[in-house]
């Protein structure tokens, strides 16, 4: 039996402070990096959208690249890219972020541009109409014009959840997008885009003192407004299986997703981590139990995956969320034999994984986690969301040890409790394009 590989110890520096207007700031200086990463997180995602405004958080993210009080449309992007940097934004279930990576000489410019965005948006009818069209093309390219386009992030939540917040399509319906107005956008900006509802995170080659001074200079003058309440998305656990079947007209083979509710990612971190480990034991690559069983032994699937959270990052999501088991099936195979095999494997796992199996999986998970932190922008993003959702940016260094502490007994207990009952969501994708 091979001995366990020594796990690395992370010691990224994490300095926190807050401005008088409520903006929370985290700096992670690393003088060995030649660039800086900047991430601003606003505590609003598509779970904050009311009925009739599906997709608005994402549409609004697009509008935030359309100019400000100081800068014309396109000018911020020209300044970033024209100084050798990259910029982007993305909208998630519980947050929206704006990210950039810049050469060190452009750090102050990057901070200025984020402060400028936060200070005042320039919302015009032309830009709104233009970006509604762009977002519709984004939805066409990512969802409507391709097979499995909404699988599973759009398709599974309405099977698992009942409330509009949790169940609706975060990209939004074309009807809702087309009915968006400038007044909606101005209201959304006032409500959510205030310093007290944001976290600024900067990582890379920065001097903490001068960076702090830049932050104060550019963000300090933005007026304080009260942060909105985080939406209450609570739903009781399902007490029975919820099943749904959809025809995907472009799909050539069947696919399926099984969703299980998981413990609160923030309030019950250890139990949550035990399930994240379980998801890897079940479907993390070739050695995993479901690959061996479904793909190699039973031949009822050709690909298996697992993920925890909306888009597969377990540490950027609030309760309620899901552990999702996903599979593509050979033509003609239905979900039933797959579900029977999954249930047997879940039941076996709830009797306890092998200690060596947990060691191996955790070693791979920790190494993978460390790998993504090689990029200063990824560091800024990881630290920023830990500050926003958990007020614990230092968790960036502690997660490897927290994962390593998870015992086989904890994995078994968490699987038994959260995956062993009847309450789950099953989605079947029926191929409409089968030969």
């Amino acid at each position: 039996v091979a001995s366990r590989t020594k796990l690395p110890h992370l010691a990224l520096s994490v300095d926190r402070f807050a401005l008088a207007n409520g903006l929370r700031v985290v700096l992670s200086p690393d003088r060995s990096a030649p660039t800086v990463g900047i991430a601003v997180f606003y505590d609003v995602g598509f779970r904050s959208e009311p009925e009739g405004r599906s997709g608005f958080a994402h549409l609004f993210e697009h509008l935030m690249f359309q100019g400000s009080a100081s800068l014309d449309k396109g000018e911020a992007d020209r300044l970033i890219e024209g100084n050798g940097g990259l910029a982007n934004g993305s909208t998630h279930s519980d947050y929206t972020n704006y990210i950039s990576q810049l050469p060190v000489n452009a750090l102050e410019l990057g901070l200025f541009l984020e402060a400028d965005r936060m200070r005042a948006a320039r919302l015009t009818e032309d830009n709104l109409r233009n970006q509604i069209e762009v977002v519709k093309e984004e939805i066409r390219v990512n969802v409507l014009n391709r097979p499995y386009g909404g699988f599973p992030w759009i398709d599974l939540p309405p099977v698992m959840f009942d409330t509009f917040n949790n169940a609706h399509d975060g990209y939004g319906s074309f009807a809702d997008l087309e009915s968006a107005t400038i007044a909606d956008a101005a209201d959304f900006f006032r409500r959510y885009y205030c310093p007290a509802n944001a976290v600024l995170s900067v990582a890379g080659d920065l001097d903490p003192d001068s960076t702090r001074a830049f932050v104060q200079e550019h963000f300090g003058g933005i007026p304080r407004r009260r942060a909105p309440k985080v939406p209450d998305c609570f739903e009781p656990l399902p007490d029975r299986e919820r099943r749904s079947s959809m025809v995907d007209p472009l799909a050539p083979v069947p696919a399926m997703a099984v969703g299980y509710r998981v413990p609160d990612p923030i309030a019950r971190l250890d139990e949550y981590l035990a399930l994240v480990v379980a998801s890897e034991v079940l479907a993390g690559g070739e050695p995993s139990r479901l690959y061996q069983r479904l793909v190699k032994h039973d031949r009822v699937a050709t690909h298996t995956f697992a993920m925890v959270g909306t888009f597969g990052d377990p540490f950027d999501v609030r309760d309620p969320t899901m552990l999702q088991l996903l599979a593509y099936l050979p033509p003609g195979v239905g979900v039933d034999p797959v579900l029977v095999a999954i249930d047997e494997e879940v039941s076996k796992l709830s009797a306890g994984p092998e200690p060596a199996e947990v060691d191996r999986v955790v070693t791979a998970m920790v190494s993978d986690y460390v790998r993504h932190l090689d990029s200063v922008l990824e560091r800024a993003m990881t630290i920023g969301i830990l500050e926003q959702q958990r007020h614990q940016p230092e968790l960036v260094n502690e997660l490897p040890a927290a994962l390593a502490r998870i015992t086989p007994t904890q994995v078994a207990a968490a699987v038994g409790r959260w995956m062993g009952g009847p309450g789950r969501a099953v989605l079947e994708v029926v191929p409409g394009a089968a030969a």
Partner: protein
């Protein structure tokens, strides 16, 4: 609301190329290593040249060879191989195209010696067990079926077929039937005759001292043996540039978007035209603040993510344009693409546009080589292009010398619409008439794959 002043940006720091140590092993394998200590890990990439004669069954064999390389050795099953990688805090993966079989991986830096032994074991001693090969063939067939249902794969396959014709580069995604016919004996023969150290390049980057990394590679792979490769054996014939011709419309009934692709001949990285071509490409469509994105996305809302780029294969470089546009604006989008290409050829760029493109290419180069994974990929690209690490100093300097006149001149050579071929994937019933009013059209129905 107060209008704030944009802060001044000082001069960029010059790029600091990493120190690269190299060693040529007696068996012909060339090794490059660089220390990058940001995180306690390392990345490794091994590129093995494996040339095809251009026959369909060989393209399929190349793919199955890569996909089954990790399926077992004399001493380890496929599961044991992937478990061993996980225990070392790593993973191994393989891929193939017409030029290379690539074995890549990464792990914790404390594992560098055993991880390289594992990599060497699969490269030198893969046995291709029949049951595993059968399973992986089925998986690859299914992956081909899934890939060919994606519009971008349909568009890429149609583009390379139109551009490269019968050349090996024109193959695209292999036929499922050809994959299903690949036998273990053929894979073992390919291992002995094609997976050779001579001509192969290994790059390792990470938190490992260079002498130790070089010794670890030599100790693991020094025993990799095989016949010396004749130079002619790994040179594909250079494909002829495509003859101009009608725009190909691949019919995809019901498609709500049209995938527009254009391509034409370009030059490799070491060519004198490459730096100005790269900047012309950026100004035209190579990044967000380019003319193409500004026009068909930010002004007209025809598309989400249009762009252009320069792609390099071993014996062919191409300039390509891609835009997935709403089906009702297909012809209108083509007009704007051709207009912007024509403008690059016939008028001078604004000096500020050129300066922005230059800073962007230089700045993002520094970012691309900042991470272990990014530097590994960049060094592997340099090695397989026959360029040394000095290119990292030379290229930014050459970019600094590019003028707006040079941009217009290379645009005439590589961006001129008359030199590009065009392929579209979309609903012919809806888009054909509009496109036909602009350019000659040849309609193709889709090659159907067995599901």
């Amino acid at each position: 609301v107060t209008v704030a002043a944009v802060p001044e940006v000082g001069p960029p720091r010059p790029l600091r190329p990493p120190r690269v140590s190299q060693r040529a092993l007696a068996n012909g394998l060339r090794v490059s290593v660089a220390r990058r200590a940001g995180i306690p890990r390392f990345e490794v990439s091994l590129r093995i040249p494996t040339v095809l004669a251009g026959r369909a069954d060989l393209a399929a064999r190349q793919l199955v060879l890569a996909e089954t390389l990790l399926s077992g050795t004399a001493t380890a099953t496929s599961v044991e191989i992937s478990e061993a990688a996980q225990r070392l805090g790593g993973s191994l993966s393989t891929s193939a195209d017409a030029d290379w079989v690539v074995v890549s991986g990464s792990a914790l830096s404390v594992s560098v010696v055993p991880f390289l032994r594992l990599l060497a074991e699969v490269v030198c001693e893969a046995t291709f067990p029949a049951a595993e090969v059968a399973l992986q063939r089925d998986r690859v067939v299914q992956e081909i079926v899934l890939a060919r249902s994606q519009p971008e794969t349909i568009a890429r396959d149609a583009l390379v077929a139109r551009y490269f014709g019968r050349h090996a580069y024109g193959r695209g995604t292999p036929e499922p039937e050809a994959v299903a016919g690949v036998r273990p004996a053929a894979l073992r023969a390919a291992r002995d005759n094609r997976l050779l150290p001579s001509g192969s390049e290994l790059v390792l980057v990470g938190d490992v001292a260079a002498p130790r990394a070089l010794d670890a590679v030599e100790s693991a792979l020094g025993g990799w043996r095989g016949p010396a490769r004749a130079t002619s054996d790994h040179q594909l014939a250079r494909p002829a540039p495509p003859a101009p011709g009608p725009t190909v419309i691949v019919d995809r009934p019901g498609a709500v978007q049209t995938n527009i692709r254009l391509a034409g001949p370009a030059v490799p990285r070491g060519h004198a035209d490459f730096p100005p071509l790269m900047l012309a490409n950026m100004i035209f469509g190579g990044y967000f603040t380019s003319r193409l994105v500004d026009n068909i996305r930010e002004r007209r809302g025809y598309t989400y993510s249009p762009g252009s780029g320069v792609e390099h294969r071993q014996v062919a470089s191409t300039f390509t344009v891609a835009a997935d546009v709403g089906r009702d604006v297909t012809a209108a989008a083509l007009v704007e693409i051709l207009y912007e290409l024509g403008r690059m050829v016939s008028t001078l760029a604004d000096p500020a546009e050129l300066e922005a493109a230059r800073r962007y290419v230089q700045g993002t180069l520094a970012m691309a080589i900042q991470t272990q994974a990014g530097l590994t990929s960049y060094l592997a690209t340099l090695a397989s292009s026959g360029l040394g690490i000095e290119y990292l100093r030379e290229y930014p300097r050459l970019l600094n010398q590019v003028t707006v006149e040079a941009v217009r001149e290379v645009s005439g050579r590589y961006l001129a619409p008359t030199r590009l071929i065009t392929v579209m994937v979309g609903d012919a019933r809806i888009i054909r008439a509009g496109v036909e009013a602009l350019v000659d059209v040849e309609l193709q129905s889709r090659r159907e794959s067995a599901g």
